[in-house]
C-alpha cells in the first residue's frame, strides 16, 4: 500500500523522539484561554484541547489532487464547521487532519498540519499516536458489532493495553454521560452496540472516541444519517464537549453550522475535476451574515448547492 510514503515508523527514533507530541501542558499559538485555565486542566488526567494549524495542505488520491493549498488555524475549545458543496474536499481535508487520509488507497498529502506546533506528518511521528490525540467520528454510525455497549466505549483503551475493571467502569459512565447517552443505556450496558438506534449508535461512537482522551475531535457529517431529534441531541452534546475538546465538524446542514459553530470554513471547487480549496474562512457569524466572496454568500443563502 502507498501508506509507507508518509509513514516512517521503521526509522530509528530513539535519538529524535518528539516529547512534545506526547504531552504538552502549554499552548503556544492561537491561545484564547487565559494561561491559568490551561494550567488547571493540565493537572487533571483529562484531555486538553489543542490548537491546530494547517499550512499549505494539498491532498491527493494517486495522481488526482483533491484539495489544494489550504491554510487554516483551528482554535482550541471552539467548534470549527466546514461547509461546501459535495465533492469539494471537505471530508478529504478532515481526514488529512488525523492521518486517516493515507489509509485510503493512493491517499497522500503535501504541506504541514501542526498539532500545538508539532507537525503530525513529520517523518518520525507514528500515525497511530496522532490518531490517539485527534479522534474521529464518522458519517455512518459504526459501533463494533461483536462488542457490547460497554466494550465499545472502552475498545480503544482495552485493545491498546490492560486496564483495571473499576477504572473502566468509571470511564464508561463518564464518557457516556459526556456523549449524552448514559441515561438511555445505563441499564443495558451489556447489550450489543448495534442493537441501539442510529442516533444512539452515533453517540456511542462519540463516547468511544472520547474514551481515548483525544485533544481534538473530528466529526465527519455526524448527524447527516440521523433524524432531527437525534441530530439535535448530538448538537447539544457538542456544545458540552467544546469545554474540554477542540471540535472540527463537516456538515451539509447550514442551520447546524450557523447555530453551533464558532468558526466556519467554506470549501469550493471552481469546476469539475479541479481541486477543492478553502474559499473563505472566518467567524461563523461573519461567514453567514456578511461573507466576503460571492460564492460563499450564494451557498449559505441556498442559491447554490
Amino acid at each position: 500500500m502507498e501508506r509507507n510514503k508518509t509513514r516512517a515508523d521503521n526509522q530509528p527514533s530513539g535519538s529524535h523522539e518528539d516529547p512534545r507530541l506526547e504531552s504538552q501542558p502549554g499552548n503556544r499559538d492561537g491561545q484564547q484561554k487565559p494561561a491559568g485555565a490551561q494550567g488547571q486542566t493540565s493537572g487533571a488526567s483529562g484531555a486538553q484541547a489543542q490548537s491546530m494549524e494547517v499550512q499549505g495542505l494539498n491532498c491527493f488520491y494517486g495522481g488526482f489532487k483533491a484539495v489544494t493549498d489550504v491554510d487554516m488555524t483551528i482554535r482550541p475549545n471552539k467548534i470549527t464547521a466546514l461547509i461546501g458543496p459535495s465533492g469539494c474536499g471537505k471530508s478529504t481535508f478532515l481526514r488529512a487532519l488525523n492521518r486517516m487520509h493515507e489509509v485510503t488507497r493512493g491517499g497522500r498529502i503535501e504541506g504541514k498540519v501542526l498539532l500545538d506546533g508539532e507537525d503530525i506528518y513529520a517523518p518520525n511521528v507514528d500515525p497511530v499516536q496522532v490518531r490517539r490525540k485527534i479522534g474521529m467520528v464518522f458519517q455512518k454510525p459504526n459501533p463494533f458489532p461483536t462488542m457490547t455497549i460497554y466494550d465499545n466505549v472502552v475498545a480503544g483503551l482495552k485493545l491498546a493495553g490492560s486496564h483495571k475493571k473499576s477504572e473502566l467502569d468509571d470511564i464508561v459512565e463518564d464518557k457516556l454521560r459526556q456523549a449524552a447517552l448514559w441515561d438511555e443505556v445505563k441499564d443495558k450496558l451489556s447489550a450489543g452496540g448495534t442493537d441501539l438506534s442510529g442516533g444512539q449508535q452515533q453517540r456511542l461512537c462519540i463516547a468511544r472516541t472520547l474514551a481515548v482522551e483525544p485533544e481534538v475531535i473530528l466529526l465527519d457529517e455526524p448527524a447527516s444519517a440521523l433524524d432531527p431529534m437525534s441530530s439535535m441531541k448530538i448538537e447539544d452534546a457538542m456544545q458540552d464537549l467544546k469545554k474540554r475538546y477542540t471540535l472540527i465538524i463537516v456538515t451539509h446542514n447550514m442551520q447546524q453550522a450557523s447555530r453551533s459553530s464558532d468558526y466556519t470554513g467554506f470549501f469550493y471547487i471552481e469546476a469539475m475535476g479541479e481541486p477543492g480549496q478553502l474559499w473563505e474562512f472566518g467567524e461563523t457569524e461573519q461567514i453567514f451574515s456578511n461573507p466576503e466572496r460571492q460564492q460563499t454568500e450564494d451557498y449559505v443563502t441556498g442559491k447554490m448547492g
Binding site: M1, N98, M100, V103, R105, V128, Q129, V130, R131, R132, K133, G135, M136, F138, K140, N142, P143, F144, P145, T146, A155, G156, L159, A160, G192, T194, C205, R208, T209, V212
Partner: protein, 287 residues
Amino acid sequence: MASGSLNSNLSGNYRRRKTVDKVMTVIAYLCAAIAIVALTLVIIYVVARGINVWRPAFFTENTALFGDGGGIYNAMYGTAMLVLLSMAIGVPVGIMAGIYLAEFGDNRLGDFIRFVADTMAGIPSIVVGLFVYGALVLIMGWNAFAGACALAILMLPVISRTTEGIVRMVPGELREASLALGLPQWKTMLRIVLPTAAAGIITGVFLSVARAAGETAPLIFTILGSNFFNTNPFEGAMAAVSLYVYQASSSPYEAVQEAAWGAALVLMLFVLVLNFIARAIALRQKV
C-alpha cells in the same frame, strides 16, 4: 379509447406470457424436486442398508476384511486423527493466506495466489494423493501425517478463498473506526476484523473439513488402510472410515460388504452434522 386499446393490443402477448410463466414455474419446481428426491433417496438407502450393521461391537472392534467384517473402531480413530491433523496444517495456513489476499492482495502477487488457489481447487484429489505419495510416502513409508498433508492441500484453497471473501465483506467503516481510535493495523485486524468475520470463516472451515473427511482417493496412496489399531500418525499404515468403505465394499465376503454400508452411514452422518453446524454458525453471523 384508452381502455379499449389496452385490452385489444396487449391481450395476445399477455396471455402468451402468462402461459410461458406457468410452464417455467412448473419446470423450476420439477428440477428442485429432482434434486431433493435424489439426495433424499441416497440418505434413505444408506440408512436402510447401514443401520442393520450397527450394533455396539461395530463401534468397538477393529476392521476386518474377511469373516463377519468386524467393526470400524480403528477407522473412526484414523478419520478423527486425519481430520484433526489436516486442520492443524490447513486451517492456519488457509486463514492467513485468505487474510493476506483480502488485505494486501490487490496486486500481481495476490492475483497469482488467487489463480493458484482456484486451480488447486480443481485438481482431482487422486492427483494430490499421488503427489504426496511421491513427496512424503516414498521417504517415510505409509503414515497418517502424509494423508493429513494431502487433505490439507485439498482444504487450503477452499479455506483461503472463503476467508478472503468474508474478510472483504467486513465493512471498511469498522476498520476506519478502529484505526481512528489509535489502534495499529495488526490489532485492528486481529481484534476487530477477524472477530467480525469469525462466523463466516468458521463456516468455511467446517465445510472444507466435511469435504476432506469424505475424501478417499488421496488416502489410498498415503495411509493405505489397516486392520490394526495404530496410534502413531507418523509411522505405519492407518485405517479411515472412507477408505474402509471403499475397501470393504470390494470384498468378496458378503458380511464385509454389509459392514461397508454401516461405515458409509457413519461417514454420511458425520458429514451431515458438520454441514448443519456450519449452517447454524453462518445463520448466527451478524454482519
